[in-house]
């Protein structure tokens, strides 16, 4: 479905991505893990059209999309839930959800999609007319995911949906992501919480310093020595700085 070849990106003179190639097949849940600053967010922003690549190409079903503006990429069904949720804080929850269905394609189905989103996140029914900024972090994340679903994604990209949320809420969010995947939406997930993410993943890529250093099925990577040491907090011998920072993130 999504095919990325030799993608490179930079912010001014600062190179962030080198030669990223990956594929996401229809119906898969694919996870990207890697340390802070490794370029995962830049990668998703580039696919979503918020950032122009230096070189390489991004194709959706063989059609190049990396020259399109962001709203046309949304129109084609690639929708990003950005890092930090980025809700329209001064607007109501309902308005946030409605805006998710802004494209002509999604707008005709907005009433049935709203029902589905409220089925997924029943708590939001009570909050529809509240300003989005007044919700708790977990509820804001629900609105952010709900807003993306309102746009009828074929490929849903999520950037760190668990960031700053309580463990119980994280569990709930990941269950919903799993359900969304089961309903046929392809998912590309970037996540710090490597253990949970890898359990969810059909396949995963490890990104370090702007390059893909490993890939495999979720189960395969969960068992991998390097992944266990760097991302899951199992160290044969505790003490090295990378191990400590990785376990702190856990």
């Amino acid at each position: 479905m999504l095919e990325v070849r030799e993608l490179a990106a930079a912010y001014g003179d600062l190179r962030v991505l080198w030669d990223i190639s990956l594929e996401v097949h229809t119906g898969e849940i694919v996870v990207l893990i890697g340390p802070n600053g490794s370029g995962k967010t830049t990668f998703l922003r580039t696919v979503a059209g918020l950032h122009r690549p230096l070189s390489g190409d991004i194709r959706l079903e063989q059609t190049p999309i990396h020259t399109l503006p962001a709203h046309q990429i949304v129109e084609r069904g690639i929708i990003l839930v950005p890092e930090g949720r980025r809700l329209f804080g001064g607007m109501s929850v309902l308005e946030n959800l409605e805006l998710g269905a802004f494209t002509a394609r999604a707008r005709v189905k907005r009433h049935e999609m709203l029902k589905r989103v409220l089925d997924l996140f029943p708590i939001l029914s009570e909050r529809l007319h509240q300003r989005a900024a007044t919700l708790s972090g977990g509820q804001q994340q629900m609105v952010a995911i709900g807003r993306a679903l309102m746009g009828l994604p074929r490929l849903l990209m999520l950037d760190e949906p668990s960031l700053g949320l309580a463990p119980l809420v994280v569990q709930n969010i990941f269950e919903v992501v799993r359900d969304i995947g089961r309903e046929g939406v392809t998912v590309l997930l970037v996540e710090q919480n490597a253990r949970v993410a890898l359990q969810l993943a059909d396949r995963a890529y490890i990104v370090e310093q702007g390059r893909i250093v490993d890939q495999g099925t979720g189960a395969h990577l969960l068992a991998d020595q390097h992944v266990r040491r760097a991302y899951l907090g199992y160290a044969p011998r505790a003490g090295t700085t990378t191990d400590r920072s990785a376990s702190l993130r856990e």
């Binding site: 059209g49 918020l50 329209f88 001064g90 805006l99």
Partner: protein, 292 residues
């Protein structure tokens, strides 16, 4: 000083303030959404005034009726300016964006002024309708018809804008873009189209304000800067990001000026706005309606 005199000045303050309000809301809308400070906003207002004047002087069209032409014309002018000039500025980010927006719009204001001088000469112009100078008297207060119409038109314009922004899908897209343009783009909103429409609306509001100004003051090609500055004072007082909050603050400034002219003396009229400006910045830097 009689109570009638005070009430009379208060009412005239409201009339003047409604023009401040409309001028400021246009500037505030463009600033809030495009994050561009259009110094040429006052020149757009001035051009609106000249279109009204021209339609009145040449075709004898009533100034209020001529808004049916003036407002769409200014909307189109705004769209063209966004397309050929401001599109290149809104693409920038951070400091480059604000600096370039100031430079470009300041240059534009000079160009627009000189174009109007070529077309209409620098003489003062005004629109005198058959009903100018007549009006109602209620409780000893004189309410000239032109001034009453100004207030009504200002209110209708602002309420229509409010309804548009709150109720329609497009209006919500404009508000969403003002809050976070990247998130808006990720919702499938074309940011360029929102900018184009918003700049057109800002110019249309300047056109409305220009018409209102042309029937109450005389106009010259150089009035633009004074209106830009006044609109700027109003939007800073209201708090940036509070687009429609600029209207009540405009009314407030008009009333404050009128009352200070009554109680302190006409010479202090301009000063009072700046003093209020200073105190608000000191005591409530987020503006009267701003959220912290």
């Amino acid at each position: 000083m009689s109570i009638e005199t005070v009430a009379q000045n208060l009412v005239f303050g409201l009339f003047v303030g409604s023009m401040y309000g409309v001028a400021a809301v246009g500037l505030s809308l463009v600033f809030g959404v495009l994050k561009v400070l259009n110094v040429a906003h006052g020149e757009l207002l001035m051009i609106g005034g000249y279109v009204t004047f021209w339609l009145f002087a040449v075709l004898r069209i009533d100034p209020f009726l001529s808004m049916l032409v003036t407002v769409p014309a200014l909307f189109l002018l705004g769209v063209v300016l966004d397309r050929i000039i401001f599109r290149h500025v809104t693409r920038l980010t951070g400091e480059a964006k604000i600096k370039n927006s100031l430079l470009v719009s300041f240059g534009l204001s000079l160009i627009l002024q000189n174009v109007v001088i070529q077309l209409f000469r620098a003489d003062e112009r005004s629109v005198q309708t058959s009903y100018s100078g007549t009006g109602l008297t209620a409780f000893g207060i004189v309410l000239p018809y032109t001034r009453l119409l100004i207030l009504v038109i200002a209110l209708v314009a602002i309420l229509s804008l409010h309804t548009f922004l709150q109720r329609t899908y497009t209006g919500k897209a404009i508000r969403a873009t003002a809050e976070d343009w990247e998130a808006a783009a990720l919702a499938g909103i074309s940011i360029q189209s929102v900018y184009l429409l918003t700049f057109g609306l800002g110019a249309a509001l300047a056109g409305i304000a220009g018409t209102l100004v042309s029937v109450s003051y005389s106009i010259t090609p150089s009035i633009g800067l004074a209106w830009t500055l006044r609109a700027l004072v109003v939007i800073v007082l209201a708090g940036t990001g509070r687009i429609l909050g600029a209207f009540p603050v405009g009314l407030f400034l008009g009333v404050a000026e009128a009352l200070s002219a009554t109680f302190i003396g006409p010479a202090y009229r301009e000063l009072v706005g700046l003093v209020i400006f200073l105190f608000v910045l000191l005591l409530r830097p987020q503006g009267l309606f701003g959220r912290t």
